[in-house]
């Protein structure tokens, strides 16, 4: 319903002028294209070589002549490189950060060249378990190597090398995207001027690992999963849908669920007393699960959640100490957390701030008051937008004057 209303509005605007592209959040980057970089091979952290890898990416705004205006966006667990804009005039759904990225927006595409690539292991264009293994000519399935957050970042670096970008003005991302931001700043300190990790953590807590594991178990318990070999058969949709439902609970908060659903019933006035979805929250989760299986691969969910669970910044770069890990960074940071985020609560950001201060790094931090839980960074928020805009503006004017 909302979709069709929006489509109508979108089309009407286009009829006025095909050059003025607006949506409810303001001007849009307009029609965008997913691009692909094909590589002969990519060396992974575990020493393995991923033969004939593909990196899907999108790029908005103009790369300036000094190539110093690049804002690299890292997407979250099940996101993709479609950050903003539309694929066609008929496309009713903009990219996932449409409110943040576009002409005159928080990440202003009139000034910055925005690049986002799909993470390795995903199923949205970059190589992942659903990709064809060139040796066997069949999908990898579980033969796909286990990838790390570091591998995702290394693949992004290959892309930037290909585009001729030496130094990134800012690397920005939320959640698992935020982990990539942290990893970028420490793995390639010479390449990152500033970093904006949002609603993220230097390592998963037991709580975060627990939820991921329940999701993985739901997939693997689905008989259709078949040890990851299901690409020519019925996929494990039920398991993946349950995994998504669990994920969704962790992205919300007690407060947001109370406000959004409460104990309201879905299209009925009394309980069914027969295990149907009576409550709105049940029906919402079912819907989210169903929608998700249409666009996401179950094996990719396993691979990316595992990469996130294994990620440990201190272990990787500081022999167990995040202070030593951050000592390798030379970036200036803007950390943002949200009050109602119980997946990566604020204390995890504070731990990073302590380490950054001890390492002599410049860091800004704000815990935004928001009731929407972990997902808050994906929802329009004036403070989030204006802080990112101000931080980028300051970073760009300093870099550009040198």
């Amino acid at each position: 319903m909302i979709g069709s209303w929006f489509q109508l509005k979108f089309h009407t605007r286009f009829q006025v002028s095909e050059y003025i592209e607006h949506d409810e959040h303001g001007p849009s980057v307009g029609i965008v294209k997913k691009r692909f970089l094909h590589l002969d091979g990519l060396t992974l952290d575990n020493g393995q070589n991923l033969a004939s890898a593909t990196i899907a990416y999108e790029m908005y705004g103009r790369l300036n002549s000094r190539k110093n205006n690049v804002v690299l966006i890292c997407h979250a667990l099940t996101g993709d490189c479609h950050v903003a804009g539309y694929y066609s005039r008929e496309d009713s759904k903009p990219g996932w950060w449409e409110f943040m990225v576009g002409p005159g927006k928080g990440i202003d595409t009139d000034r910055y060249c925005v690049i986002c690539s799909n993470v390795l292991g995903s199923c949205m264009g970059s190589s992942g378990p659903a990709s064809i293994n060139h040796r066997t000519k069949t999908p990898y399935g579980l033969k796909f190597p286990l990838i790390t957050i570091g591998d995702m970042v290394s693949a992004q670096k290959v892309l930037l090398d290909h585009l001729g970008v030496q130094k990134i003005l800012a690397v920005v991302g939320g959640s698992v995207g935020g982990m990539q931001v942290l990893e970028w700043s420490i793995r390639f300190p010479d390449r990152v001027a500033t970093a904006i990790p949002i609603a993220t953590t230097p390592r998963h807590s037991a709580l975060a690992i627990a939820f991921n594991e329940v999701g993985r178990q739901a997939i693997m318990a689905d008989p259709n999963w078949n040890q990851g070999d299901y690409y020519s058969k019925k996929p494990p949709d039920l398991g993946l849908a349950v995994a998504r439902m669990i994920g969704h609970i962790t992205y919300l908060s007690d407060e947001s669920m109370r406000l959004k659903f409460g104990r309201r019933l879905q299209a009925k006035s009394d309980f069914s007393y027969n295990f149907e979805a009576d409550f709105q929250v049940e029906s919402y989760l079912h819907y989210q699960g169903k929608k998700f299986v249409e666009r996401f691969d179950a094996n990719s969910f396993l691979y990316i959640t595992k990469a996130a669970d294994y990620y440990d910044l201190g272990r990787e770069h500081g022999a167990g100490s995040i202070v030593d890990a951050f000592a390798k960074s030379r970036a200036r940071y803007l950390l943002i957390s949200f009050t109602s985020d119980w997946l990566y609560p604020t204390y995890q950001s504070r731990e990073m701030i302590k380490a950054m201060k001890k390492s002599g790094l410049e860091v800004s931090f704000c815990e935004i008051e928001a009731g929407w839980g972990h997902d808050a960074f994906l929802l329009p928020n004036e403070k989030l937008t204006s802080m990112i805009a101000g931080f980028l503006n300051n970073a760009f004017s300093e870099i550009d004057s040198h």
Partner: protein
């Protein structure tokens, strides 16, 4: 200090004075920096490398919008993580009167900074004294605009008391200035005689 008479900027008079003590290119930590008026001024006019600590989320976001480096948090907790002598100056502007344990804060300031700058409203200004004497009510002034029941200020400090406190806690007053402000504190003048009676604010440069 000829600029003290005219006030070309919008910066509050007491902050202009603090700014005049900060050397160019120095590193500054502003405690309870609010929306970052002073830090922004120091960044632009002194090319200082500034960091702020502020507890209020909205004020922090205003600072970041301006391009300032600010951490949201409690000043005493946030000071703990900095290495000794990280900053040239640590500034506590008009916040001392709200602090539970001032000695801890001042010691921390002088641990992480080479010098500290502390300013506070002078409670012994004659207007306050007369209000209490003549009306028998707790003083309310433009510097201390609160009633006893809604004030965030938990301490009453006078210039004289602060000097005594410095001797007791064991830090040095390197420089001090007393000022009288008007026009919502935008402009003012320096007070040289009978400061404890006539000044609305005291500003101190301190060292360990």
């Amino acid at each position: 200090m000829p600029f003290l008479k005219s006030t070309p900027t919008d910066l509050r008079f007491d902050l202009q004075l603090i700014s005049s003590w900060v050397e160019s290119e120095s590193t500054v930590l502003g405690l309870g920096c609010g929306e970052g008026e002073l830090l922004h001024h120091l960044k632009i006019s002194k090319n200082a490398r500034c960091t702020g600590i502020e507890i209020d989320e909205s004020k922090v976001s205003k600072c970041v919008e301006k391009g300032l480096t600010v951490i949201q948090g409690d000043i005493s907790e946030e000071m703990e993580d900095y290495a000794d002598k990280t900053f040239d100056y640590v500034i506590l502007s008009q916040t001392l009167q709200q602090i539970y344990d001032p000695a801890v804060i001042i010691r921390s300031m002088l641990r992480i900074g080479h010098k500290g700058i502390v300013s506070f409203p002078n409670f012994s200004h004659w207007v306050n004294r007369f209000q209490l004497l003549l009306t028998g009510k707790a003083p309310v002034s433009s510097q201390l605009p609160y009633q006893w029941h809604n004030t965030p200020n938990i301490r009453v400090i006078t210039i004289k008391d602060f000097r005594k406190y410095a001797r007791e806690v064991g830090f040095h007053i390197l420089q001090e200035v007393a000022i009288n402000t008007d026009n919502n504190d935008k402009s003012g003048r320096r007070i040289r005689f009978l400061t404890n009676l006539r000044a609305t604010y005291g500003i101190f440069l301190i060292g360990g």
